[in-house]
């Protein structure tokens, strides 16, 4: 069995109960269950594992992996994504040069989420990827903590989405107001909403919502289940 993101389960008591019950699987005589669990190293989960028998679980922390190994994996991921972008946008083989790729790896600071988000941003279909790569690389947070780098990456992306560089000044104010209104509402939503529901709730026009969110495709998950739902 695979159980992902146990930390995203509400209720500390329930989380501990789940672990307690899963650990009972060791007592099964005829079938040997193997249960793969992932989570952030949060206190209720650590306590939950402390409660159950040591023999019943094996723990592995991702931060125990050497930086060099993680950076290698991130570099493979970046190369793979960028190759896709290069083909889609018919860019020359020599783009991007390897020193820029290395800088991206350094900037990611071990976070895969950084690499995938940046690649989505760079490869956005209506953009010129080399320009976007330069934007990301010009972002000055080269040596901060991973979280600082991530913050700064999101800031770059959001700034760009809020006020596209090619807009006229009078349009810019309008666009950024609309951005605060629509994206701000999504940020404070507790649950996902369909596009139609969000539009209705805000008394907005469908095209306004669509247009505003289109530029956010690298950070906003736009899911098509049966209806369209927005989550950040």
């Amino acid at each position: 069995m695979v159980i992902d993101a146990l930390d995203e389960c509400d209720g500390e008591r329930d989380v501990r109960l789940i672990l307690h019950l899963l650990a009972q699987a060791t007592s099964l005589g005829s079938v040997r269950l193997k249960i793969f669990v992932t989570s952030r190293p949060e206190t209720p989960i650590q306590l939950g594992f402390r409660d159950i028998l040591n023999d019943s679980h094996r723990d592995f922390a991702l931060h125990a992996i050497l930086d060099a190994v993680v950076n290698h994996d991130i570099s493979v991921l970046l190369q793979h994504e960028i190759e896709g972008t290069r083909k889609r946008h018919e860019l020359p083989d020599e783009w991007p040069d390897s020193s820029n790729l290395d800088r991206l790896v350094q900037k990611a600071g071990g976070l895969f989420i950084y690499a995938t988000t940046v690649c989505r941003f760079i490869g956005y279909e209506y953009s010129h990827p080399p320009n976007r790569l330069i934007m990301v690389l010009n972002d000055t947070k080269e040596y901060g903590s991973s979280m600082e780098k991530l913050d700064s990456m999101y800031t770059t992306l959001l700034q760009y989405a809020a006020t596209p560089k090619d807009g006229k000044p009078e349009e810019e104010e309008l666009l950024s107001q609309r951005f605060r209104w629509i994206v701000g509402s999504i940020v404070v939503l507790r649950d996902t909403l369909t596009a139609a529901a969000l539009t209705k709730l805000l008394h907005a026009e469908g095209w306004e919502v669509k247009q505003t969110l289109r530029s956010l495709s690298s950070v906003l998950r736009y899911r098509i289940i049966s209806l369209k739902r927005y989550t950040l």
Binding site: M1, V15, A25, T26
Partner: protein
């Protein structure tokens, strides 16, 4: 059986929301069929945690949509690329193949370090090897995927669907209930196709 019932009641208590209904339903089923586990001998162990937790009807009605790794909700999420996470994947596969090793492998990591991608990779691999009993991907802000109320019933349902060792009485009950339609396109047609479960007329997807 005392201990087992105890485990079962704890599990149905998990999440609280719909569980008084769960418990009553099970009691009713239990009374109706007598002790359904009596006849299975060694198989009963396998059923304790999962199939026993909620009876089949309840489990199916109470499954959380989108919990499984291959559900529609996650269809655009990727697995690990080849040649990445190499050492870790080998570790996990060794652990899963070793019956004497711990039953739980806990992978912890900060936000954004790629835990879910690894989960998907493991789930996909076990699924391809027909070894995956169930998967549950918690997700904050996603209704039933953000709490424990449907956790065990979802596992029970999925466990039953994937497991060759499903108990016969449940088989009968299952045949009357349509299977979840929320699986990703990618696995449609091969995981739940009619020829794999010929007796379940309601298994056709979409």
């Amino acid at each position: 059986m005392v201990l087992r019932r105890d485990i079962y009641y704890q599990a149905t208590d998990c999440g609280n929301t719909s569980n008084s209904y769960n418990v009553n339903h099970i009691k009713k089923y239990y009374n109706m069929t007598g002790d359904p586990f009596r006849e299975f001998g060694i198989l009963e162990d396998a059923l304790i945690l999962f199939s026993l937790l909620t009876c089949a009807v309840q489990a199916k009605a109470n499954s959380a949509d989108g919990a499984a790794f291959n559900s529609l909700l996650w269809q655009h999420e990727s697995s690990c690329l080849q040649n990445t996470r190499y050492g870790l994947t080998i570790d996990i596969m060794h652990w899963s193949g070793n019956p004497y090793d711990a039953c739980i492998f806990w992978l912890s990591g900060m936000a954004g370090t790629g835990k879910s991608t690894i989960s998907r990779t493991v789930a996909r691999r076990w699924y391809d090897e027909s070894r995956l009993g169930a998967s549950f991907f918690f997700s904050r802000g996603q209704g039933d995927l953000a709490n424990a109320s449907k956790f065990f019933s979802t596992l029970a349902c999925s466990w039953h669907t994937h497991s060759p060792a499903s108990p016969p009485p449940f088989e009968k009950l299952y045949s009357t209930i349509p299977i979840s339609r929320n699986k990703a396109y990618r696995t449609n047609g091969n995981s739940l196709s009619a020829d794999r479960f010929p007796r379940r007329k309601t298994c056709h997807l979409n």
